[in-house]
Symmetry: C2
Subunit: 212 residues, 2 copies
C-alpha cells in the first residue's frame, strides 16, 4: 500500500496510528507530500501523483494493494480494519460500536475545526475572519466538553474513537494558537496523558510539513 | 430513530436517500432545524436538542434507536446499512467495495467543496476570498472529471457512491452560482439523468432551509 502523507496532518496521523496498531505499518510505503503555505486558499502545486490518484488532492490518500485510491481518513481506516482482520479497532458489540462511532465523530469534528482554523490563519489578514475563528474555537470546546463528560466511552480496548480523540488533543497541544484543553477537563487530561504514551502515538507526534 | 435535518443540506440528503433505499425511512422521525444565514462564520442559535445530541452541532445528526447520536453522514450511512441488513448499499465483493468507497470519497470531496463555497459566499464581502472560491471550483471540476472518466464504477446495484455522486451533481444544478457540470462530461450527464429519476432522489430534491 502507498500513503500520501505529511507529519503535520492530523487526519493522516489517524491513519498512521491505526495502521501501526493493526500491525500493517510495515506494509505501507510512505509518500511524503509538500505544500506551499497558501494551500488554504489556492490550488497549490501538488506533489506528483497525488491529484492523479485522488482528485480531491488531499491527504491522507491511501492506494490499496489492488491499486484503488481511497481519499478519506475514515474510509481508509475502515479498509485497514478489513485488511487486518481479525485484528480490529472497531468494537464487535452493537452498542459499544455505536458509542465508538459517536465519540469518533465528535473527535473528528474537533479535528475539522482545528484544520479550518489553520487554513483561516494562513489567509492574508485582509480576508481573515475573526468571527470564523471564534466559531471554530467554540465548536472545539463543545466537542472536548462532551468527550470529558463521556470519557467512559474512551475506555476498553483501543479503538478508532480513542485514536482520533488522542490526535485531536495532541493537535490542540501542538499549535501554539490553540488553548490548553486541560483546565476544567481533569478526566480527559488524565486519559490523554496515558494514551499519548502509546508507541504508535509517540512515533507519530506532529511536525511541521516541509514547504515546497 | 430521529434525524436532525434540513432540505438544503446535501450531506443530510445523502442520509435521506440511503434510508429510503434501505427501506428505513418510515422508521425515522424528522427533526427540522433552522439556521441563521451567518452560520458559516458565527455560532448560530441552534435548534433545541441539536447541540445537546451532537456537540459538533451539525446536520445530519442521527439519534439511533439505542439513543446514541451519530454526527457524520458516512457513519450514519454505515449504521443504516447495518440496521437494514441484508439490504445493503455497500458491495460485498472486495474490489467492488474498494472502488465504491473510492468514488464515494471523490463525490464527498466535491460536496465538501460545494458547502465550503456556500459558507464563503455567506461571509461579509470584506472577508470573502475569491481565491478560496476558485480553489474549490477547481477541486469540484477535478472530482467531476474523475467521475466522468470512471463512470463505469457508478453502474451496478445502487450504492453509497452512486447516491453521493447524484447528490453532488444535484447540488451543482441547484445553486445558481455553480456552473453546469455537463459540458465535456457526456457520460456523467447521461448517468445523472437516469439516477435523478429515482423516487428517493425526486422526494429529496433540495430546497432552501427555513431561516430562523
Amino acid at each position: 500500500m502507498q500513503l500520501f502523507w505529511t507529519p503535520a496532518s492530523p487526519f493522516t496521523r489517524k491513519v498512521c496510528v491505526a495502521a501501526r496498531e493493526l500491525g500493517l505499518w510495515e506494509k505501507i510505503e510512505v509518500r511524503p507530500t509538500t505544500w506551499t503555505l497558501d494551500w488554504g486558499y489556492t490550488t497549490p502545486p501538488f506533489t506528483p501523483g497525488l491529484a492523479e490518484a485522488n482528485p480531491v488532492a488531499r491527504i491522507p490518500t491511501l492506494v490499496t494493494d489492488e491499486g484503488v485510491a481511497l481519499g478519506d481518513s475514515t474510509i481508509i481506516c475502515l479498509h485497514l480494519n478489513e485488511v487486518a482482520a481479525p485484528r480490529t479497532l472497531i468494537p464487535a458489540d452493537k452498542l459499544a460500536r455505536q458509542q465508538m462511532w459517536a465519540a469518533y465523530a465528535v473527535a473528528d469534528g474537533a479535528l475539522e475545526a482545528q484544520i479550518a482554523m489553520r487554513a483561516e490563519m494562513l489567509r492574508p489578514v485582509a480576508v481573515r475572519s475573526e468571527r470564523f475563528l471564534e466559531k471554530q474555537r467554540v465548536r472545539i470546546w463543545r466537542c472536548f466538553d462532551a468527550l470529558e463528560r463521556d470519557v467512559a466511552h474512551l475506555e476498553g480496548p483501543l479503538d478508532l474513537a480513542q485514536i482520533t480523540t488522542g490526535i485531536a488533543l495532541g493537535y490542540q497541544d501542538w499549535r501554539e494558537w490553540l488553548e490548553d484543553f486541560r483546565p476544567g477537563r481533569p478526566r480527559l487530561a488524565a486519559w490523554y496523558a496515558q494514551l499519548a504514551e502509546l508507541p504508535s502515538m509517540k512515533a507519530t507526534e506532529p511536525k511541521e510539513t516541509p514547504t515546497a
